[in-house]
Each structure stands twice: as structure tokens, then as C-alpha cells.
């Protein structure tokens, strides 16, 4: 009868030791990978930048062309159609239409911008007395411009 052969104990211990070593190695490898990835992304930098928001109120003074030198505090949009319009308050930026306009300003300083039409323009403006108003009217204007200094021709 053959004697039964058992595995020697020392060999079994070595196997466990190998498994333990492998586990430690795996943990170390994972830690190295984690650290390397974290360090790489942590070193990412956002470039310096400029950013800004600016706000400012828009009023008649801001819209007034440089050719008009007086002080304006209100904007008046002349209605289309060419009917006679009279404005009794001073300090207006009076904006005409693309058609012919007929405007009377009775008080103080006003800046009148007649606009179009480009050809055969007949914008009419009567300023206050003594004359202090300033007008920007079309080059082709043949209308009556009274009591107003023509400071610019446009269009």
C-alpha cells in the first residue's frame, strides 16, 4: 500500500505570501495611478482673463451730434406725415423723419435734424427768437429755415 502524499506546509505558506504580495502590489499600482492622474489634472491652470460690463444711460445729450453745440435734455421724434408740429419747451433734440417735416420751436435752444428725403428736400424749421437754434438739414433742402443756424448739411 502506497503512502498517501500530502502537500508540504511550507509550500502552502509561500502561496499565501505570493497572494499577499500581489494584493499589495495591486493597491500600490492603483495608488500610483490615482496620484499621477490627480496631480496631472490638479496642475491644470485657467489662463488669466479680463471681463467687464459697462452700463451708461442714453439721453439726448449722448445722441446729439457734435455739430450741435447747445445743451439738450429731451428727445422729440417728429411724427411722420409732414404735418405742422410746434414745440414750446427748450432744450430739445428734434429728430425729423425720412420725409419732409414742418417744425416750429418757440423757446430757447433746440437742435433740429431734418433727415431725408435726400433729393428735393423741403424740410421747414422755424426757430425761436432771438435765434439760438441749430439745424442739420439736407443738402438739397429748399424749404424755409428761419431763426436757425445751419451747422451741417446731411444727407
Amino acid at each position: 500500500m502506497r503512502r498517501r502524499h500530502y502537500r508540504p506546509r511550507p509550500r502552502n505558506s509561500r502561496g499565501r505570501l505570493r497572494t499577499l504580495n500581489l494584493t499589495v502590489a495591486v493597491i500600490l499600482a492603483a495608488a500610483v495611478g490615482f496620484t499621477a492622474a490627480s496631480a496631472y489634472t490638479a496642475s491644470n491652470t485657467v489662463p488669466s482673463t479680463n471681463i467687464g460690463v459697462y452700463t451708461h444711460t442714453i439721453g439726448a445729450a449722448e445722441l446729439k451730434p457734435a455739430a450741435c453745440t447747445g445743451t439738450v435734455t429731451a428727445i422729440i421724434a417728429v411724427p411722420a406725415g409732414g404735418s405742422a408740429q410746434t414745440y414750446n419747451t427748450p432744450g430739445n433734440l428734434i429728430l425729423g423723419t425720412s420725409g419732409n417735416d414742418n417744425v416750429t420751436a418757440t423757446s430757447g435752444y433746440n437742435c433740429f435734424i431734418g433727415g431725408g428725403p435726400t433729393n428735393n428736400n423741403t424740410d421747414t424749421f422755424t426757430g425761436s427768437t432771438p435765434p439760438s437754434d441749430e439745424c442739420i438739414i439736407a443738402a438739397s433742402d429748399t424749404g424755409t429755415i428761419k431763426h436757425c443756424t445751419i451747422v451741417q448739411r446731411s444727407p
Partner: protein, 122 residues
């Protein structure tokens, strides 16, 4: 030989898994919300706007065709302007700090323009 291949494969897998976890962990980092312009002076600087001019349409002066201004520092990559709160935003072009913004699409009117807002970013 087979065992050695197995060990190398397991170690490489662990390395990759660790790297992946590290990447994911830092990718989920969030930068807290800050007010505009907040930050160190060296990193975030507000732009300065000056010399604002509006160009009225020559034929229909009740319309504004353009707003122009100078900006400092002169190198913003994106500049946009708005002429009324809640209104349209207009793209601007910047040439060495001289900025112009066409305001014709949609057409801006003088009476409808109450507040200029400019946003600039590098």
C-alpha cells in the same frame, strides 16, 4: 510564465483603474460661482469704456445706425452692446481698441434707446 503574465495584467489594470478614478475625482471638481469681476487684480481686470458716440441715420435720424467707443485694455476677443434693457444684443468689431457696433438689425431707435450696456471678454 502564465502566472507572471497574469500578475503584470492585474498590475496594469490596477494602475489604469487608479488613474481613471483620479481623473474622475478631479473632473468633478467645481469652481464656485463668483460675482463678475471677482478675483485677484492680476487675473481679472474690468475693461474701461470711453468716448461713446452714436451715429444717427442721415436720412431717418430717429434711427441709430451705430454706436462706437474705445475700450481698454484693447484686446477683448468678444464685445457686445445693448441699447436698452432687455433689448437686442449687437455684435461689435474691435480694431486695436476702437470698437464699433452696427445697430441696424434689428434697427434701434433714438427714443427706444435708454441704456447702453457693453459686455467684453478676453
Amino acid at each position: 510564465m502564465r502566472r507572471r503574465r497574469f500578475v503584470v495584467t492585474v498590475l496594469l489594470g490596477a494602475l489604469l483603474a487608479g488613474a481613471l478614478i483620479g481623473k474622475v475625482a478631479t473632473a468633478s471638481n467645481t469652481v464656485p460661482n463668483q460675482s463678475l469681476g471677482y478675483g485677484s487684480a492680476a487675473a481679472v481686470t474690468a475693461y474701461t469704456i470711453s468716448g461713446v458716440t452714436y451715429t444717427l441715420d442721415s436720412t431717418s435720424p430717429q434711427n441709430i445706425d451705430q454706436v462706437a467707443f474705445t475700450i481698454s485694455p484693447t484686446n477683448p476677443r468678444l464685445v457686445k452692446a445693448q441699447l436698452a434693457p432687455g433689448g437686442a444684443w449687437y455684435a461689435c468689431t474691435n480694431s486695436a481698441g476702437n470698437v464699433s457696433c452696427a445697430t441696424t438689425t434689428p434697427q434701434t431707435t433714438a427714443t427706444g434707446s435708454t441704456q447702453l450696456t457693453v459686455v467684453a471678454t478676453q
